[in-house]
């Protein structure tokens, strides 16, 4: 078990304390090493809050998160950046590349921040570039390349540190459908190479590439689907059905 989330609860309080909003009421799930998890849910279901807590960018009101056996909640403010750098990789909907760095430097950023040597950087860089097929553009700048290339760069940046967990937030949200397909295949490939992936999305297509899909509603894990032996198309159908039931207010139990 690489990730273990127990009874996570998050309440936002408005500035003057008058208003309480419960984003997560009780979330419990676990992820095994090598899994590809998709988390689905409508807007306001708590997806982003959950992801922020997993990324150690936000703290839960109560409950616990263990990454590879280490409790995230207890890590001090000082260690948290190093922890994030060493154990987590991030991919975002809007890529979040830095315009003032070349593609190569964007990818190397986490290694530079970790104070690695140039030799180490070069040996880590090469396989990642090949895996993502972006060897040709490394001297370019983010504003000179396409959306798909930007997202590949962002993935390269996320996996160059060999993180225990790759977190992806709507990674295909800003891409056209053709680019989306090839990018999702890429996620599968990375996952098949042993990388644990946790992806938040509301695209059925994106979720249909996962090995397991969790559904969030009203701040709890409402239901989950295992891929089992299903093909992508079959999984797509199952997810679609589930969402229909969710939308019409039916009652499953996780």
């Amino acid at each position: 078990m690489i990730l273990n989330v127990k009874n996570l609860k998050k309440v936002y309080t408005s500035r003057f304390g008058g208003h309480h909003v419960q984003a997560l009421s009780n979330v419990t799930f676990s992820v095994d090493e090598g899994e590809f998890i998709a988390i689905m849910g409508e807007s306001g279901s708590g997806k982003t809050t959950l992801l922020n807590i997993l990324a150690a960018l936000d703290k839960p009101t109560s409950g616990e998160v263990f990454l590879d056996g280490k409790a995230l909640v207890g890590i001090s403010e000082k260690e948290i950046s190093a922890f994030r750098r060493d154990n987590l990789g991030f991919v975002f909907q809007d890529f979040n590349l830095l315009d003032n760095f070349s593609i190569k430097d964007n990818i190397l950023l986490p290694l530079v921040l970790a104070g690695k040597s140039i030799e180490k950087m070069n040996t880590s860089l090469k396989p990642v570039l090949i895996k993502l097929g972006i060897e040709d553009i490394i001297e370019k700048y983010p504003y000179e390349i396409s959306g798909g290339q930007k997202q590949r760069t962002a993935i390269a940046r996320a996996i160059i540190t060999n993180p225990k967990l790759l977190l992806a937030d709507e990674p295909t949200g800003a891409l056209d459908s053709r680019t989306t397909d090839s990018l999702l295949k890429l996620f599968r490939k990375i996952n098949e190479d042993g990388q644990t992936v946790l992806m938040v999305t509301h695209s059925i297509k994106a979720a249909s590439h996962a090995s397991r899909v969790l559904f969030l509603r009203d701040g709890t894990v409402f239901h989950q689907i295992y891929r089992g032996e299903s093909t992508n198309e079959e999984l797509y159908q199952k997810i679609s059905d589930t969402l229909t039931i969710l939308a019409t207010g039916g009652g499953f139990n996780a």
Binding site: A55, E77, I80, S81, D99, N100, L108, P110
Partner: protein, 664 residues
């Protein structure tokens, strides 16, 4: 859409953009206020009655032009800042279905609002503070109560016309920009041109060349006349150099750092080098502006303050005695008669003559050839100013009377005095005449009143006036054939300035009414009268220096403020991403802080370097204004720099708060 909507929207827009708009309004109001006050002062009826009003009037008029030109440039600049920040909002209006003509209408109404606010408050505060400024000017000029305080209709009139024209031009420019742009570009507005700059080797090299030449001129300048000649060239070269080096030089330098992999791929250097490349590209022009404005403030304040403090020193240099009577061209008998008449007038008035001196002289501008030890006539002083001497020839009796010396000279013998260096020791020639230096004199016992000390001086004491006429004759037509000598009487009386003035006018009236003297030309002065001219000139310059200094400082503050805001918006996103890829909040803050510090203190440091290089040149130009007290100028400059630095730092830390508020 109802017209009412437009007015409401326009008002809403101003309110919503208060963070950008208020500083713009304040700047405009202050500029208008200062423009009005300058006109009010320059055309004040009290000025015409004042002594030395000419120089004050000229200086203040110059101030009007400077403020005018400055207003045009600066208001356009700040407006473009405002417009750039707001493009997104305008694009949104456009996409939500407003046509460009509607947007233009809202824009027009907005501009009318701000125009009205600016004009009314600008003129109101102008009238309010004009009295204060008038009092300050009177105090600085040490002038009497001739000035009158009124509301200058002329000032209001000119101000209204001038700033209305500027406002209309700005509005037209805004409308033009909106019409030319596409909505999608407007939406992106705030962050266009994020391309990393190409290395601009040529521009950087040009910058080094121009700046180097300017600096070289400034430090190798050897005399006041060439300082004056080269000053503006040097200033322009350094300004060009500053722009080139800020825009291209900085980037070239940073790219060289980036190319060095060992250096670049270190945690600290990585973010700061690439961050700085980005920042310099966005801000180089603004920073160069800050640098040049700061330099101008520093030069202006330090030199005018120095002149003002040193004006009594200047007065003493210029006029060795309190009262002086010069007779241009007179023979010996006439001179004797004049001095007797003057002495008699003073005695009849019952005053005691102190530090009396009297001498006759002839003066030539001569070129001195060091190798051949020869003085030759020349009038083209610009040609070879280093070799030029203002050579005063005196009969030795002037020296003997003043010092009581018992020296005896033969026909070829001379005594030499020079406050400047002169390579002369034994024998020398004046054209074809041979002379022998009998001795160098430390102190001739009197000073000649000179109008400017930009040429080297040499006093040559010869046996008698006969020798002087021999020297004159061999020059031939070069200096005309009129070889009478000039005659100078100088003395102090220990009485107050009113009495001095009265005495001088008695002397003047008497000398001019005596029939015997009707062929003579007199120059009669008293420091009591001249003082006012000096106060008018130096006080006027000082006032202008303070006034414009304040204006430029305001401009600097505003540019810094706007830069902080735009930097803040740019950094916000980067700050966020950096945290996600594993930099702690503290690290990010530290890195950004050091970059922002570098960016904002670079102009100040460059300005100080400019001042250091310009120092020698400015010192020489001050000499032309008779200010020779270099240590006073050093003190004034250092003090100005320190005060300005403190002020700059204070402005920086205040505006930095706005920055951090945006970023976090």
């Amino acid at each position: 859409m109802h017209n009412f909507m437009y007015f409401k929207l326009a008002a809403e827009n101003i309110k919503k953009n208060a963070k950008m708009y208020i500083p713009y309004l304040i700047t405009s109001i202050i500029t208008i206020m200062m423009f009005y006050i300058m006109i009010f002062l320059a055309y004040n009826p009290g000025l015409t009655g004042m002594k030395g009003s000419n120089s004050v009037g000229t200086i203040l008029n110059m101030g009007i032009y400077v403020i005018g030109i400055f207003a045009v440039i600066f208001l356009f600049y700040t407006n473009s800042f405002l417009l750039k920040r707001r493009k997104k909002e305008i694009g949104l209006f456009n996409i939500l279905g407003m046509e460009k003509k509607h947007i233009a209408r809202i824009m027009t109404i907005e501009n009318i609002y701000s125009y009205l606010i600016n004009m009314i408050s600008g003129i109101f505060f102008g009238i309010l503070f004009s009295r204060l400024m008038l009092l300050l000017l009177i105090k600085i000029l040490r002038a009497g109560t001739g000035f009158v305080f009124n509301i200058s209709l002329q000032g209001i009139y000119i101000t209204l016309i001038f700033f209305t024209i500027i406002s209309v031009l700005i509005l037209l420019n805004n409308i033009r920009q909106i019409h030319l742009s596409k909505p999608i570009e407007l939406l992106k507005g705030g962050n266009v041109g994020e391309k990393e700059p190409k290395s601009k080797w040529i521009i950087a090299a040009a910058g080094i060349l121009t700046m180097g030449t300017g600096y070289f001129m400034a430090i190798t300048v050897s005399n006041a006349v060439s300082a004056l000649n080269y000053f503006f060239i040097a200033v322009i070269l350094v300004i060009i150099g500053t722009y080139c080096l800020f825009t291209a030089g900085s980037i070239v330098l940073l790219k060289i750092l980036r190319r060095n992999k060992k250096y670049y791929y270190k945690t600290n250097h990585f973010t700061s080098v690439s961050g700085m490349i980005y920042r310099m590209k966005q801000n180089a022009v603004g920073l160069a502006n800050i640098c040049i404005l700061s330099t101008m403030v520093l030069v202006m304040l330090s030199s005018t303050v120095c002149l003002y403090i040193g004006q009594d020193n200047v007065l003493n240099n210029r006029f060795p005695t309190n009262i002086g009577i010069n007779t241009i061209f007179s023979n010996k008998e006439e001179s004797e008669s004049v001095s007797n008449t003057v002495k008699k007038i003073v005695q009849d008035s019952g005053y005691k003559i102190e530090s009396y001196n009297e001498f006759r002289y002839k003066v030539y501008t001569l070129e001195f050839n060091k190798e051949e030890k020869t003085f030759l006539p020349s009038t083209d002083i610009t040609l070879n100013i280093d070799k030029m001497y203002l050579a005063y020839f005196f009969p030795i009796e002037s020296y003997i009377t003043q010092t009581g010396s018992d020296v005896v000279l033969n026909d070829e013998d001379v005594l030499i005095y020079s406050p400047d260096e002169i390579d002369i020791s034994d024998k020398f020639l004046i054209q074809d005449l041979n002379f022998h230096v009998k001795g160098m004199v430390e102190n001739p016992g009197f000073t000649i009143q000179t109008s400017g000390s930009y040429m080297k001086l040499v006093y040559i004491f010869v046996k008698d006036e006969e020798i002087i006429s021999q020297i004159h004759n061999q020059f031939g037509d070069y200096y005309g054939d009129y070889y009478k000598l000039s005659h100078v009487i100088g003395f102090d009386i220990i009485e107050n300035e009113d009495k001095q003035t009265k005495l001088v006018s008695t002397i003047r009236d008497t000398l001019e009414s005596v029939d015997e003297y009707k062929n003579l030309t007199f120059q009669i002065y008293s420091t009591a009268e001249e003082r006012f001219d000096f106060y008018a000139l130096y006080g006027g310059l000082f006032f202008l220096g303070l006034f414009l200094g304040a204006l430029f400082i305001m401009a600097t503050v505003l540019i810094i403020y706007y830069k902080q805001i735009s930097e803040g918006y740019e950094d916000k996103q980067r700050f966020y991403i950096m945290q996600q890829v594993g930099m702690s909040k503290v690290e990010v803050r530290k890195s950004i802080r050091s970059q922002v510090l570098t960016v904002f203190f670079l102009p100040l440091i460059s300005a100080i370097v400019h001042i250091i290089f310009a120092f020698k040149m400015i010192t020489m130009m001050l000499e032309l204004l008779n200010l020779t007290n270099v240590s006073l100028f050093v003190i004034c400059t250092v003090a100005t720099v320190i005060i300005f630095t403190v002020f700059y730092t204070a402005v920086y830390s205040l505006t930095a708060r706005t920055y951090y508020k945006i970023v976090e």
